[in-house]
């Protein structure tokens, strides 16, 4: 089995059950969640944030598709691109595994997964993405 690496360390965690969690944090002062994880709250500048995993369930808000490879991107196209609202009150801009906007609808349940981007010298490079989930 080939080795894999995340596109950047510290962004997400593969739960091994087909889902992933985003590595975020919660501010001790304003109680809001943010992603990616940082020591200083990006909303209120308080410096006492504690680690919090975010996801995996959310609802799709806005979506489109990227049809041609953007600068510096080596993976396949088309791919979906959209905004998913998580239960924690965080809105995530992310890749969507569905590359055809006609097959998506606003408000539909989404699940955070690990997605294969491309191979780098035999190493599988992975990132986080949202996939359409069953209603429920």
């Amino acid at each position: 089995m080939s080795a894999s690496r995340p596109v950047r360390d510290g962004l997400f965690r593969d739960c091994g059950d087909g889902t992933a969690r985003l590595l975020g944090a919660r501010c001790a002062d304003c109680a809001r969640y943010h992603f990616p994880r940082a020591e200083v709250c990006p909303y209120c500048s308080c410096d006492s944030c504690s680690a919090a995993d975010l996801g995996p369930r959310g609802r799709l808000w806005l979506y489109t598709a990227v049809l041609r490879p953007p600068p510096g991107y080596r993976g396949v196209v088309p791919f979906g691109f959209g905004v998913v609202d998580l239960e924690e009150g965080v809105r995530i801009v992310a890749r969507l595994t569905e590359g055809d906007p006609a097959r998506l609808r606003s408000g539909q349940p989404m699940l955070l997964v690990v997605e294969h981007l491309h191979d780098d010298d035999g190493t599988r490079v992975e990132t986080y993405a949202f996939a359409a989930a069953e209603e429920g």
């Binding site: 991107y73 995530i92 801009v93 992310a94």
Partner: protein
């Protein structure tokens, strides 16, 4: 009026593609034209501010070196699409403060075609396919369609309107009319946006000479520059996350409120606007963010024809960025040059009759937004 600032002269190098011409050469044309227009061909300004993004170290110095006009403070300013407006804001502030009586403000850029590769994005975001600016534009467009009564045809029609206006602008890159059908059937970039709904990054330069006011010239009634507040995921700061409960006003609204207050004017006092139309949806967003119409009303407001030539408030009489293209450092000052010409009745076939008050808006990477109000 104490603290008043007016425009002494303007200059432009037309926007387009100029192979074999350096960015300094473009800047030289605009600066020399503005200095000549102001009657300052061999200097007389006490500071210079140059807006540019991709021109490298001390680019503004190179322009003034070539003219033998160095020795004064020269500051190069980068604020994304608002770089030229940020340079202008520094110049206005310097005169208002009493520090200088006359300053030169210019902006210039030479950019490759296509999606801009920006050092704004970390390498991993590029690798993950998240450094895709047009997709953010598309999400904003979809939101307008859902919440503001905007249709695909309307997105196309904004491009039709601006290209129709641009036919009469000799400084524009594209001087050709298109139909709604042609815009809709051009290549899909990111649904719902097609190629002809997007502006082209290109090349050009613009310059403005500012002086202490009171001599009866076109006056800077307000200049406001603002960055984004945290919260929104759809801003030009292109974040990875934000808040669902997002009540933060966008930087354009912050700048507009400040500018209207400074000028003692409101949207109803405007005769024309030059607004950021990086894509068609951005222009419609700007209507709401500037307060030209209410939130959620961009669609019906556009459909009523107010922003067409001959309407109550023509927007982008110059043809906008959709016709002119967008040389980042120069584009905001291009809007100022257009308003100056309009307020002086020098805009030829695209003249807005009797224009006395105009607003120029830019918003871009950072995020930075600027709103400048000119009056005569």
């Amino acid at each position: 009026m104490s603290g008043a600032v007016e425009i002494a002269g303007v200059g432009l190098h037309r926007f387009g593609r100029f192979d074999g011409t350096s960015v300094v050469d473009l800047g030289l044309v605009a600066v020399r034209a503005a200095l000549a227009d102001a009657g300052l061909r061999r200097g007389g300004f006490q500071a210079a501010y140059c807006g540019t993004v991709y021109s490298g170290v001390a680019a503004g110095h190179k322009v003034l070196t070539a003219l033998g006009l160095t020795g004064v403070p020269i500051v190069n300013v980068e604020a994304g699409c608002a770089s030229g407006a940020a340079a202008l804001d520094l110049g206005v502030g310097a005169i208002r403060s009493g520090r200088y009586d006359c300053v030169l403000v210019f902006g210039m850029e030479k950019m490759p075609a296509g999606i801009i590769r920006s050092s704004f994005f970390e390498p991993w975001r590029e690798e993950a396919g998240l450094a895709v600016t047009p997709a953010y534009f598309a999400l904003r467009a979809q939101r307008l369609m859902r919440e503001s009564g905007v249709t695909r045809e309307m997105l196309a029609d904004v491009s039709v309107k601006n290209h129709r206006n641009g036919v009469h602008n000799p400084d524009a890159m594209f001087r050709k009319e298109f139909s709604v059908e042609q815009v809709l059937s051009s290549a899909l970039v990111c649904d719902p946006l097609t190629l002809f709904m997007m502006c082209s990054p290109n090349e050009g330069a613009a310059a403005v000479v500012l002086r202490r006011g009171g001599r009866g010239g076109v006056e800077i009634a307000a200049s406001a520059l603002r960055s984004h507040l945290p919260g929104s995921v759809l801003g030009e700061h292109t974040p990875l996350s934000g808040l669902i409960d997002d009540t933060a006003p966008p930087p354009t609204s912050l700048a507009a409120r400040a500018a209207f207050e400074e000028a003692g004017l409101g949207p109803g006092d405007l005769d024309l606007c030059e607004v950021q139309d990086t894509d068609s949806a951005r222009e419609l967003n700007s209507y709401e963010e500037l307060g030209l119409c209410g939130v959620g009303e961009a669609g019906p407001y556009y459909a009523a024809g107010h922003t067409q030539m001959g309407g109550a408030l023509p927007v982008n009489a110059s043809g906008g960025l959709l016709s002119k293209g967008e040389p980042l450092g120069a584009s905001a000052l291009g809007g100022i040059v257009e308003l100056y010409r309009q307020l002086r009745g020098e805009a030829g076939a695209r003249q807005v009759d009797g224009a006395r008050v105009g607003l120029a808006h830019t918003v871009g990477r950072g995020a930075n937004a600027s709103v400048v109000i000119l009056k005569r």
